[in-house]
């Protein structure tokens, strides 16, 4: 009797232990923390991993969703007063040229400031940064068309504030954003001659998606957006009543004297918008769509447009956790992720050029549909640039100066840093004593970085 009872308690104890180490447990495995850091951040950097490891899935996601920092500081050149448009007509060619050159310089300074921010050790809101990039790519605007760097910074700041907040607020803010108004030509949209650019992309790319509206709707929405422009003196959004078409419009089956806000509310009354955004965000984090899960999350999203809640829903799904290694890193994920593993090895100054050569020009997507996604990032041209970058990551790396980083990167074996370690053969040995084995660690890191599997997340 006594013996049996000991066995009984033993089993109970074993069960208790087992539950601690299953997915119900309080702490993440290294593989889970690595996966989360790759998909919701820029990769398995030491500080992040160490913070995530003791947490369970729910708490780890909560940690990532917390906002801790202000936006990056704007370069001084983007703080100067903007030259009002009407002054340009008094400029001679030389003055115009000088102006253009100074703005181009400032645009580069802006790209660089953002790149440094993404690389900075003090900057740990990795999921926020990922979502800034996501929304920038969703509500595309480009430095190539917007005349002032300051205006792109302002747009970035609007996105920064709302990236994890309410989609409704974000949508209302971005449509009024001066850079957006200029990028999609709404400053030229007036009742006499409507310009459809913003109206079309609002339906096609920002809210409903192709197939959920007609060409007639595009024309009617364009009419509703007439008069929304910018003040040419100080570049703030401004409504010009005399340019607005006050006549009746019929939009998505509703008829009325609609203006901008009414159009946005009509759109936000459509479940298709929630579905379209949910699907796009799902595919940002998971390689394949799961229509059932998307449908369920979309109907929740439709209730409150809470972006953080939607992200949590996606990251908590089993499909997310079963998906390690099935997606391709974007250029910024590859470069920023690599740079953050070995602080100082990649000068932040070179980042805008590096990612541009891989197809991702910061604040300047190729067109209004934005940058490529998934495997579309990889073609012969971009692939060569990517491999070249991974080679540079360890070139000239002096183990003595990177003892702390290398201890972390090699303690489990460098191949464990890859999204799918089994692809990297042979698996790396664990290297602990960096003071002695530093060179071996660097050599193995180089091998892992240059392996095609390093391009995956």
């Amino acid at each position: 009797m006594k013996v049996l009872s000991i066995e009984f308690y033993g089993v109970l104890l074993a069960l208790l232990f087992a539950s601690c180490y299953s997915s119900l447990s309080f702490s993440l495995t290294f593989a889970e923390a690595r996966h989360l850091s790759l998909r919701a951040g820029f990769g398995p950097e030491s500080e992040l991993i160490n913070r995530l490891l003791p947490l369970g899935k729910g708490k780890a996601i909560t940690y990532l969703l917390q906002r801790r920092e202000k936006d990056f500081s704007v370069p001084p050149c983007a703080q100067e007063t903007l030259i009002p448009y009407m002054q340009f007509k008094d400029f001679d060619d030389e003055k115009l040229m000088a102006f253009r050159q100074s703005q181009n310089k400032c645009k580069n300074a802006l790209k660089q400031a953002y790149a440094s921010h993404l690389l900075s050790n003090d900057s740990n809101d990795v999921l926020l940064h990922r979502m800034e990039l996501f929304w920038h790519n969703h509500f595309t605007s480009s430095l190539a068309k917007v005349p002032y760097a300051a205006l792109m910074y302002e747009q970035h700041n609007t996105i920064h504030k709302n990236a994890l907040g309410s989609f409704r607020v974000l949508l209302h803010s971005v449509i009024r954003d001066p850079a957006m108004i200029m990028y999609l030509d709404n400053n030229n949209n007036n009742k006499a001659k409507p310009n459809e650019n913003l109206g079309r992309e609002l339906l096609e790319l920002f809210t409903l998606g192709v197939g959920n509206y007609s060409e007639k709707d595009v024309k009617e929405v364009a009419r509703a957006l007439t008069g929304l422009s910018i003040d040419n003196a100080n570049f703030v959004p401004r409504f010009y009543p005399e340019r607005h078409d006050y006549a009746k419009k019929t939009i998505l089956g509703q008829t009325g004297y609609f203006g901008l806000d009414a159009v946005l509310e009509i759109l936000l009354s459509k479940p298709e918008v929630a579905k379209y955004i949910t699907r796009k965000l799902w595919l940002e984090f998971v390689s394949e769509a799961d229509d059932k899960a998307i449908s369920r999350l979309a109907s929740e999203f439709y209730q409150d447009w809470n972006i953080s809640r939607l992200i949590r829903g996606i990251l908590m799904s089993q499909a997310f956790w079963d998906d390690a290694g099935n997606m391709t890193k974007s250029p910024l994920e590859l470069v920023v992720g690599g740079a953050r593993l070995l602080p100082g090895m990649v000068p932040s100054k070179s980042v805008p050029n590096l990612v541009n050569r891989m197809g991702q020009n910061i604040f300047d997507p190729p067109n209004v549909k934005g940058w490529p996604i998934g495997s579309d990032w990889i073609n012969s041209k971009s692939y060569v640039e990517r491999v070249k970058f991974t080679e540079q990551l360890t070139r000239g790396l002096q183990p003595k100066r990177y003892k702390k980083s290398l201890s972390f990167l090699c303690e489990r074996g460098a191949s464990e840093l890859a999204a799918s370690p089994v692809l990297v053969t042979p698996a790396s040995a664990k290297i602990t004593d960096i003071a002695v084995n530093g060179e071996a660690c660097v050599d193995d890191l180089a091998r892992v970085f240059e392996h095609p599997a390093w391009q995956l997340k």
Binding site: M327, S375, I378, Y383, V384, K388, L456
Partner: protein, 392 residues
């Protein structure tokens, strides 16, 4: 040449025996006297080219002027081809081909139920799908049924590999070949798992690069192959590289280049003028080089774009997205002249033109008559019967 050896093996063999540099790697006349490989050079006009201001319908001039008070081209800004059509002056270098009757203008190209979104419409043009059906492979992707010995079935210089993507063929994409072939030569071949789509794609790109670099680099590095001076624009340099490959007998079937910036919603006149000048100067050099080297009969050059633009100008000195458009087809075997009917300019102000020729009839003609792949059918009820090529 009785030894059975494909070109790749031949090159490796030559490398082994140390004969590189003394023996031409690729004969400029094809081995065994077989017919030279026919090639298609696609030129994408990215953004939606305003073909109405490229090829002005003189018979409809009054309406044209009325729709475009500040944007129409006056007699000084255009070059007359015949009583029906005048060219934008910036396109005047194309007149050589017109006079020699190896340049055709195919008018009114479009499709039923036109889509005015850039992305959807270029997808339709790239995949030759119906407006409301979705295809995942480009209209030229199945050409790889007979793989090229060069290891490159399609070479895409610049953006968008849409027309050749999704098939089994090896697609090489770069801005300029010479910039990266050297780097890719340093990669190594890797075998790997195939149940991960993202990884499979990476491996196929890497492995393709390894073999192609080995083959093409020596060909590209040969001096004095192209003798015509090409413009120093990116498009000019890209077409010069293509000319070099064709001159040296590389058997790639499809080449694609792209010129961007045609989405002229505002201030169109100077922008469009600059783009058309770049286009025509590069095409002129390419034509001259192909004639000079005796390959003009092996090449067809064809422009395309996601759509034409709205006949009526907008309030910003530009034009919004439109539908039907004319495009250029040129080559030594091309039967010059007008093909199809120029669409009527619309009576309603903000309306678009009605297409008169399904663009897939043009594609199908190229597949049937140029590549002689009649088993590839692009669309039900669309025949490849345009009188595009000389009967000889």
């Amino acid at each position: 040449m009785a030894i059975k050896m494909n070109r790749r093996e031949l090159i490796q063999f030559l490398l082994l025996v140390g004969a590189v540099g003394t023996v031409p790697l690729v004969c400029s006349a094809p081995l065994g006297g077989a017919r030279k490989q026919r090639a298609l050079v696609l030129v994408e006009l990215n953004g939606g080219n305003d073909s109405l201001n490229c090829f002005i319908p003189l018979a409809q001039e009054a309406r044209y002027k009325a729709l475009r008070p500040a944007l129409h081209l006056s007699a000084e800004e255009r070059v007359k081809l015949d009583d029906n059509i005048a060219l934008h002056k910036a396109l005047s270098p194309l007149r050589n081909g017109w006079l020699d009757k190896d340049l055709a203008l195919v008018h009114g190209l479009g499709y039923p139920g036109p889509n005015l979104s850039h992305f959807r419409s270029i997808e339709i043009w790239d995949t030759a799908s119906n407006s409301d059906s979705y295809k995942t492979t480009g209209w030229l992707s199945s050409l790889a049924k007979q793989p090229a010995k060069s290891g490159v079935d399609a070479l895409v210089l610049g953006r968008n590999s849409g027309p050749v993507a999704g098939g089994k063929g090896a697609v090489l994409q770069a801005d300029l070949l010479r910039h990266f072939l050297g780097k890719s030569r340093q990669l190594g071949h890797i075998d790997g798992a195939k149940n991960n789509a993202a990884y499979s794609h990476l491996l196929s790109v890497q492995n393709n690069l390894v073999s192609v670099a080995k083959d093409l680099l020596p060909i590209l590095q040969k001096k004095d192959v192209v003798k015509t001076i090409f413009p120093e624009t990116l498009l000019g340099r890209q077409l010069a590289e293509i000319a070099q490959l064709i001159n040296l007998g590389v058997d790639t079937r499809v080449y694609k280049v792209a010129l961007s910036g045609f989405d002229t919603h505002r201030n169109q006149k100077p922008v469009h003028q600059r783009l058309l000048s770049q286009l025509s100067a590069a095409l002129l050099a390419f034509r001259e080089e192909m004639i000079r080297s005796g390959h003009w009969d092996d090449v067809v050059v064809m422009t395309y774009s996601e759509f034409g633009r709205r006949p009526k100008m907008n309030g910003s000195g530009g034009t919004d997205h439109g539908t039907a458009a004319s495009h250029i087809v040129m080559g030594g075997k091309v039967q010059g002249g007008h093909i199809g009917t120029y669409p009527a300019l619309p009576e309603k102000d903000n309306a678009n033109m009605q297409f008169t020729t399904d663009f897939r009839a043009l594609y199908q003609t190229v597949l049937d008559r140029w590549f002689e792949f009649p088993d590839i059918r692009l669309a039900d009820g669309v025949e490849g019967a345009l009188p595009l090529f000389r009967v000889s």
